[in-house]
């Protein structure tokens, strides 16, 4: 099945499942944000990150302890 970025499917269903109300203008904003972010989100999900996993309790003020 092809991935869909169709806001008319995702947004009303998503908001309804959380019980979040949105007026027409908010829906337009959410639709625009979705159109902007969704293709990039799909690209992110598709990225091969090799053996990288989230660093447990990473100290972001320092370089990573894991091998480079």
């Amino acid at each position: 099945m092809e991935a869909s970025n169709r806001a008319e499917d995702f947004i009303p269903a998503g908001l309804a499942s959380f019980g979040i109300e949105a007026d027409e203008i908010e829906l337009a904003v959410i639709g625009a944000a979705h159109a902007m972010f969704w293709p990039a989100i799909l690209e992110l999900l598709d990225l091969d990150a090799g053996d990288a996993v989230p660093e447990p309790r990473a100290d972001l003020s320092l370089p990573p302890a894991a091998p480079r």
Partner: protein
């Protein structure tokens, strides 16, 4: 020339030497805010009696008696932050934030609160509960966000230094748009106590916005609680990447940044090195995802259903959209963070700095914040996040320095360094100022130049 037109360090030195009366400097700053601020809406609150009390109680310190502005992101003992918004999802109250304490203990006088992009969620500064801030170079243009007011205040020479915060470029964007030097310190290096996200954010850090690197060093040292010592940089290896962050850029911006990178290498007897740094696009998105979900812990659907109608439709919509972000993507964002931290660490084995344009185009119009790039027209937010997120995602320090003008508007170059090498960024920025004869850091926007000359 008014003492207000001196550098931050010049004001501090003049007061220390008894050559400048701090009481007069404070009153001059308040008067200048009244005079110039209506054109740019940079300062959204003043409190003369509180400022005078701060001055009266100011201890000896590196900024004794020097007026500064602080972003509307930090509580003060007499004023809760509003985060540029009609309401915040997090509770707020007046109090002593870390930056407030750092400024107070350094003897500085907070003369006003700086405007900011609503909820810190934009790179332009054109949306705020206080109304948009304007760019002193052209008040119809965006000053950058989210630290819009602090940057506009310094560029208009209302004050010589201001405190911002940077979660995804929010110091560097306005520094670039307003022709300033803006430092995003290494994560957790600068004061963050009292920020409503201090305990959950892994991207935000406070930092200075000033006219030049020496002033940013002075104010940055105060915020970091330690002297950021200057060293002469020699043989700098400056890394550049072949990526849209450096190539999908307005031609004038690209030319100015490439010239500055070359000049910095020449000034320090260094070299420009092409490096590999893949997946900057996913890294930028990962930063956005992480920054947007970190504040969701206390948010409920019912809370989102009772948002203040005075919050902008953009703000309301984006707050609700955050709830729809897939958990798998936020976990993947954490994986990408690891990946990019490894890659950045490896890159800094090869080079001292990584450089590319802070923003790909000069400040867009307030009314339509779009930018024209070789790839087409994008919103400024879409375009700007590409080059800014990496530093917040990985924790490394970054600085934006002015390197030119195009259409009468400033161009900013971003330099990034390894964790804890904030001082190197300031050293490099000063070397670049020497290389170009301080041409860009000493350039004044029309708003400041006209009234100063008058």
């Amino acid at each position: 020339v008014s003492a207000l037109d001196l550098s931050l360090r010049g004001q501090a030195a003049g007061i220390s030497a008894g050559e400048i009366e701090p009481e007069e400097l404070l009153e001059a700053a308040l008067a200048r805010i009244e005079e110039r601020n209506p054109a740019i809406n940079a300062v959204v609150a003043t409190f003369p009696e509180r400022s005078r009390e701060m001055l009266e109680a100011a201890p000896e310190g590196p900024l004794q008696g020097v007026p500064v502005v602080i972003k509307d992101e930090w509580p003060l003992p007499w004023r809760a932050q509003r985060f540029g918004a009609a309401e915040m999802l997090a509770p707020t109250a007046p109090g002593e934030s870390g930056p407030y304490r750092a400024l107070r203990d350094a003897g500085a006088v907070i003369v006003g609160v700086g405007n900011m992009h609503e909820l810190g969620s934009g790179s332009t500064g054109n949306v705020s509960v206080y109304g948009p801030a304007g760019n002193p170079w052209d008040p119809e243009r965006c000053p950058g966000g989210s630290s819009s007011g602090p940057a506009a205040a310094v560029a208009a020479r209302l004050v010589a230094g201001a405190v911002g915060a940077d979660g995804i470029g929010s110091i560097r964007f306005p520094a670039a748009y307003c022709g300033l030097t803006g430092l995003k310190p290494t994560f957790a290096r600068a004061a963050m106590e009292g920020h409503h996200m201090a305990k959950v954010s892994t991207t935000i850090v406070s930092g200075p916005l000033c006219a030049d690197a020496a002033d940013a060093r002075l104010l940055g040292s105060v915020l970091c609680g330690e002297e950021m010592a200057a060293t002469e940089p020699r043989g700098l290896r400056i890394g550049v990447v072949r990526d849209r962050v450096s190539e999908d850029v307005a031609p004038s911006v690209r030319a100015a940044c490439e010239e500055a990178i070359g000049a910095l290498a020449a000034e320090t007897g260094g070299e420009v090195v092409e490096i590999e740094l893949a997946d900057l696009g996913p890294a930028a998105l990962a930063t956005v995802l992480i920054a947007n979900v970190e504040g969701l812990g206390g948010v409920t659907p019912s809370r989102l259903n009772s948002l203040d109608p005075e919050l902008s439709p953009l703000g309301r919509g984006l707050l609700k959209y955050r709830m729809l972000l897939p958990a798998a993507a936020t976990v993947k964002a954490a994986v990408v963070r690891t990946l990019m931290r490894r890659r950045v660490a490896a890159a800094f084995d090869e080079v001292d700095l990584i450089a590319w344009p802070t923003v790909p185009a000069v400040a867009p119009p307030l009314q339509a914040p779009l930018v024209e790039l070789p790839s087409g027209t994008l919103t400024a937010d879409q375009a700007n996040v590409r080059g800014a997120g990496l530093a917040n995602l990985t924790g490394i320090p970054a600085i934006s320095v002015p390197v030119g003008l195009s259409e009468g508007l400033p161009i900013g170059l971003q330099l990034q360094a390894a964790w804890g090498r904030d001082e190197l960024l300031l050293d490099a920025a000063e070397a670049l100022e020497r290389a170009n004869g301080r041409r860009w850091v000493d350039s004044l926007p029309p708003l400041a130049a006209e009234t100063t000359e008058a």
